[in-house]
Symmetry: C2
Subunit: 342 residues, 2 copies
DNA sequence: TAAAAATGCTAAAACGATTAAACTAAAGAA
DNA sequence: TTCTTTAGTTTAATCGTTTTAGCATTTTTA
């Protein structure tokens, strides 16, 4: 905190009026409270001269508002979440709201601790990427009537606002494209998890395979969140040996590490195997590959803007029962990696 | 802010004592203020039962401390800064300190506004990646005795703590490696800017070219921060036509976009031109290239940890005159892109 | 010309915590 | 027995704002 700041009382003394009047004049309450225009001008100019900066601790204490929101993500150093954070930050800054950010690393303990810390700091609301096994924490918030918006994932049986992707449609788009290109042995690589968005992507894959009449070709391979590259080194060759013609990945990370492995073992995309990745947020990574990579694109900015707008309303109205689910739509970016060569 | 929170007064009433005693008991002041062990136990258990969360606005108002620091970066969606932010966050969380993050986009106006907002929120100190033409803003902070640590870049004639890379050494390493490999026409691509770290990288290039006796081969090409890819599309072919044998880039972004262009125009690395990039933070992008890319590696985590540790001391001692410059060391990661083929 | 309304301002309480100072009761010293 | 310590607790001020209720004036209305 800065050394000896100007307070409202200092201004009051300098001008020779009460602190109340200064407060009225500095806030736009001067209409409501009938302060003379001349006085408003005087007070504001003195405040400016004395470089007055309101003490927000005092403000918060009085008003119960902090104009601060807590944003809890999986990992801020992951591009997808960083982009979302950036979006939220921009929206918030526009609205004069400050953002506190924390990363959970998908760890329920860290998640709970972050929630406590932010509650403690008195945030006005939360934007949260919830992690596995943390439904109770979010439930507690909802029950305490704390404004909350979940993004990227949600808990089905919780009455809470959310902004998510239509994940089933996302993988469905991928399957259909590959099917249309003539691929049949289309296989899916994903994480071992119960997180809703990842699960939905799997469901989407399975369902659309069935719709395409490829029920017998369905193959879902799941790996752990740790040592992805290592896991891929054994999984990918094994799948190719098994006759896989096309690969769909449920996340960006999985796709990238697989591409690395494919290069390592000298397999060509899409000649040896077609690929559709998830998430264009790291497009530039794909740009460097010898072939351009098709991928399911999420409207990243919208996650941020929508979440912020829903949260703002929640905070403003104070009616946390009035929750709302926003579902965003994926787009398939078709490039070379999913083309069938004869 | 959460609906009707338990206050210290609620606890006091529940236990039937004064609020002062509750405060003593909850803080470890019970030694200093001689509260009976039994009472401490009782108060703490009631506080726990009532799910007491101290109101930090009140705490801050009283103490003038917020246990919050402001972190101002160039752009949180840039991997390099996101990694640093992540590091700072981890350190801070360990120490029970909350972080507020903002991005300047290298825009002095945004920078100044962020500083004002954070000051306003009463942060205890700043970690800042300063942008061009903002020396006066940082100076004002320093003069107001606000704890500040600059990272990545600094202002030479400001008495302020900083954590920076030895940038001259960084490019020097690159030049020497290329020279040792037998390259002579080693050229440097950088931004048009006065930001200290970028300028130092140029200086390092020029100086070590001279030391290698390659004074006549020195060539520095500068481009604007906007439309990098477009700029590269015209610059790179032009340089190759001019006989460039090896390229050194002053940043990651420049390197990546150039690699994209080189692929587009069908030039092979390192056969047609050798490349040394800057910053390994997006290594995975390089992993996908047909050839692995050599680069100057910055110790990213150290930027975060060192900056936080310096800032902590600054805040604790309150002696902002006791500033300190930490200089970190780059490492050259040699891979295929800088190898001379015969 | 008195009553009513509008205008411009102030006093003081409140928000929730911390803390210096004071107070009480019991224990120890003289 | 009286005085001094010590332990355990309370009182009340304080941090910087906001805001309700109310006090003088002046202006309008009837």
């Amino acid at each position: 905190m800065v050394a000896k700041r100007t307070t409202i009382r200092d201004i009051a003394e300098a001008v020779g009026v009460s602190t109340a009047l200064v407060s009225f004049a500095l806030n736009d309450d001067n209409k409501k409270y009938r302060v003379s225009d001349e006085m408003v001008r005087k007070i504001r100019s003195v405040a400016h001269e004395m470089n007055y900066q309101p003490n927000s601790a005092a403000k918060s204490l009085r008003s119960g508002k902090t104009d601060t929101i807590g944003v809890i993500l999986s990992d801020i150093s992951n591009r997808f979440f960083a982009d979302i954070a950036r979006c939220i930050e921009d929206e918030a800054s526009e609205a004069g709201i400050t953002v506190m950010i924390g990363s959970t690393d998908e760890n329920p303990k860290k998640f709970e601790r972050l929630v406590d810390v932010f509650i403690n700091k008195g945030v006005d609301g939360f934007i949260i990427v919830p992690c596995e096994k943390s439904e109770h924490v979010v439930r507690r918030l909802v029950e305490a009537k704390v404004p909350v918006v979940l993004i990227d994932r949600t808990y089905e049986d919780l009455d809470v606002s959310s902004v998510t992707l239509n994940n089933r449609k996302a993988t469905s788009l991928a399957v259909n494209e590959l099917y249309a290109q003539g691929f049949r042995k289309i296989h899916f690589v994903t994480y071992h998890t119960t997180i809703s968005n990842i699960v939905d992507r799997e469901t989407g894959y399975v369902e659309s395979m069935k719709k395409c009449g490829l029920e017998d070709e369905i193959s879902v391979r799941k790996i752990k969140y740790e040592n992805i590259l290592e896991n891929m080194r054994s999984l990918i060759p094994q799948m190719l040996d098994g006759g896989t013609e096309a690969l769909i990945f449920s996340t960006n990370r999985l796709a990238i590490d697989s591409l690395v492995v494919l290069r390592e073992i000298g397999k060509k995309v899409p000649d040896d195997v077609a690929v559709i990745a998830f998430d264009g947020s790291e497009t530039f990574a794909f740009d460097l590959y010898y072939t351009t990579v098709s991928y399911v694109k999420q409207p990243i900015e919208k996650f941020g803007t929508e979440a912020f707008s829903v949260l703002s309303r929640l905070i403003k109205t104070g009616d946390t029962r009035d929750y709302k689910s926003v579902v965003l739509h994926p787009e398939l970016i078709v490039q070379e990696s999913s083309r069938k060569r004869k």
